[in-house]
Subunit: 405 residues, 2 copies
């Protein structure tokens, strides 16, 4: 039995939302199939969360997401805090109601965007001081504030605030940053418990409460395996509902990322979902599932769609490539999505070259279908004990940069 | 009985597509309810055609248009000729198949855009010589070429090439332009007949044929009533399947436009649909229907949607207005469209301010629903003999510039 492969004492979970749960229903090696329950419904895992940064998954509507079988989306706290504001969202009944999405939502902490998008930012023990990328206004994102904002948004899963470590980082930098992240996470957890214990009774935020919300901790430590392990053990000690691996897909090689995931996952509780943040390519998905990851989010399927890059059963395809100009075939002959069932590469290239909004929509529908269908295939393969075959298939398909370059 | 209110001798229609037909099913004053049959199905009239300039109605998908009850769309010959090219479209089975739209399509002649969008253009008896707004390449759009291109596109209804008269125009300018339009229309009709008589057998365009296509003539004459009447009579003499009124909504007042429509429509055959090109506001629709118009197209519902202006049962609404920032009401509380059933003004304003693509989509769905539902109400009111009440309601609602300014 691997170290850390069980939960800490149940007393750690005193603040745990009664509605949150997770159970593993099948395993194949370290890959797990499971079911995560939240206040807004159940999510089959491994699951991919389309990213709805500003309260909408770009270029597609909630009804499209439902049709695609999307069970959970991610939304960005930094963006929604700045515009339209978390208090406005709370006044409108929370994020689900405001954006017309009735299924689960996970919100990040806002830390990564405050670090990467804002005009100027400084980080100290209090938190992240930054200037809005919209109007230059100054804000201080503390662990307590990140927790409050996410309570106002009313997401099903809130993330603790972590410090973003630049890549590459020395061992000392990584260790110091991980320690600060731990201190911030502890404050997040305490604030989370206060909101849960005294709904509506906080002097600092009188109207904030977080019924039904779960909170995930985040493991940091750069690419230093021993720091990752220490971070995992200490974060688990804080007793979150579940745990994420953060600070990857930031410039390191895929192999390094897989190595970090493989070294970290066994130190996270086996009876809790494991979430790899901000990743990744189709190969990243299967390689991470192979190492015990249950949850993913990434802008890749949606952003690449808007840039004309499609994921297909034959590999990546650049729809703007001139060779598609007269091609009557669908993007992916084996795909059953709306786009592939109704439109040719020639038409999609035309829409893209003409700068039409519907190019973004049709490409996004296809790429999201590819990602969500990949997760369905992964779950089925795990249940059938054939996951490794699927993993090898994805490695082979996506070995080439693209099918048309 | 009004002059010209019957069709010319049936022998004029030798080239008429067997599949094209029109019958009036109810009248209320000069307003008519009817049914227009084309090669791709039947259209209830009065009808509004959403504009799909580049082979897509901007920001919405064919399945959305079907859900909205769209029975016919318009597409622009100028744009499709330049990109992706009418021959490419023909190779892909025609426009319907290429763009995934199985219902009727009307194409314009390309003349208006060649005149208004191209970099440099000169007009002489041959046609319109212009430079592409895309790459500066030089093209000559003749009546014959406009007819060939539309045959390649395979639209259900093709439009004859007319000359675009600048507004305002003197009587002499309007008369000369109208005469040239007539000569061009005659050439269009002759080319159309050649394509129909000898499918696939033209030396100049060996692969072009137009089975099932109908061709409409266009009445010109600016705001000079006698020239309009002369144009109508002479155009009808050319024996098109039906007739349009062109050259309006170009700067004249609404009252002047209604006057021209009212003076022209009676000179067009009562047993043929009458199409008012490029118009208009909701009030334009009811005022023109009141004068015997059956078909409309306009970019207003789609373009205004992308600019944040919504048409509602209470009038125009600018969703970007700050007063909507915290408003939980739908854009139109009486509307049953997807947008109004699921989203608040506050959310739609947020999406618009955030520059999200879904703002364009949701606003377009709403505005198209407003226009298409308006046409349904118009048709019902004509059948019930209550059209004038509906007309007055629209005049009252849209008397104000907007509900929120």
């Amino acid at each position: 039995m691997r170290a850390g492969n069980t939960s800490p004492d149940p007393s750690y979970y005193t603040a745990m939302a009664a509605t949150f749960g997770f159970r593993v229903t099948a395993t194949d090696g370290a890959a797990r199939r499971g079911e995560m329950t939240t206040a807004h419904g159940t999510v089959q895992t491994p699951a991919f969360m389309p990213v709805g940064t500003q309260g909408t998954v770009k270029a597609v509507l909630p009804r499209d997401l439902v049709d695609l079988g999307t069970e959970i989306i991610l939304s960005n706290t930094y963006h929604l805090y700045l515009r339209p504001g978390d208090r406005l969202v709370a006044r409108h009944g929370g994020l689900h109601r405001f954006i017309g999405w009735e299924r689960p939502i996970l919100t990040d902490s806002g830390g990564y965007q405050a670090f990467s998008l804002s005009a100027r930012r400084t980080i100290d023990e209090r938190g992240i001081c930054f200037r809005s990328h919209l109007d230059g206004s100054e804000h201080l994102l503390t662990p307590e504030k990140a927790t409050d904002i996410q309570a106002n948004l009313g997401s099903d899963i809130a993330m603790a605030l972590d410090e973003c470590l630049a890549y590459p980082a020395t061992r000392d930098e990584a260790a110091a940053s991980m320690e600060r992240t731990l201190r911030w996470e502890k404050r997040c957890r305490e604030q989370f418990a206060r909101l849960g214990d005294q709904p509506g009774a906080l002097a600092t935020a009188p109207t904030i409460s977080n019924p039904g919300q779960a909170q995930f901790g985040i493991v940091q430590g750069g690419t230093h395996m021993d720091i990752r392990v220490a971070s995992a053990q200490a974060t688990v000690g804080l007793g979150f509902e579940a745990y994420a691996i953060g600070g990857l897909s930031v410039g390191e090689s895929p192999e390094t990322m897989y190595e970090v995931v493989g070294a970290t996952a066994p130190h996270l509780p086996a009876d809790r979902p494991r979430y790899l943040m901000g990743t990744g390519t189709p190969v990243d998905l299967v390689e991470s599932v192979a190492r015990g990851i249950d949850l993913f989010d990434c802008v890749m399927p949606t952003r690449n769609a808007r840039n004309g890059q499609l994921f297909t059963s034959e590999g990546r395809l650049n729809i703007k490539n001139a060779r598609h100009a007269d091609d009557p075939a669908p993007p992916d002959p084996r795909c059953v999505c709306y786009t592939c069932q109704h439109f040719s590469r020639a038409y999609l290239r035309h829409l893209f070259m003409a700068g039409e909004i519907t190019a973004a929509t049709l490409n996004t529908l296809h790429n999201l279908n590819f990602y969500l269908d990949s997760m369905r295939r992964i779950r089925e393969a795990i249940a059938f004990g054939s996951f490794d075959q699927l993993r090898q298939e994805y490695r082979r398909i996506f070995a080439r940069r693209s099918v048309d370059s």
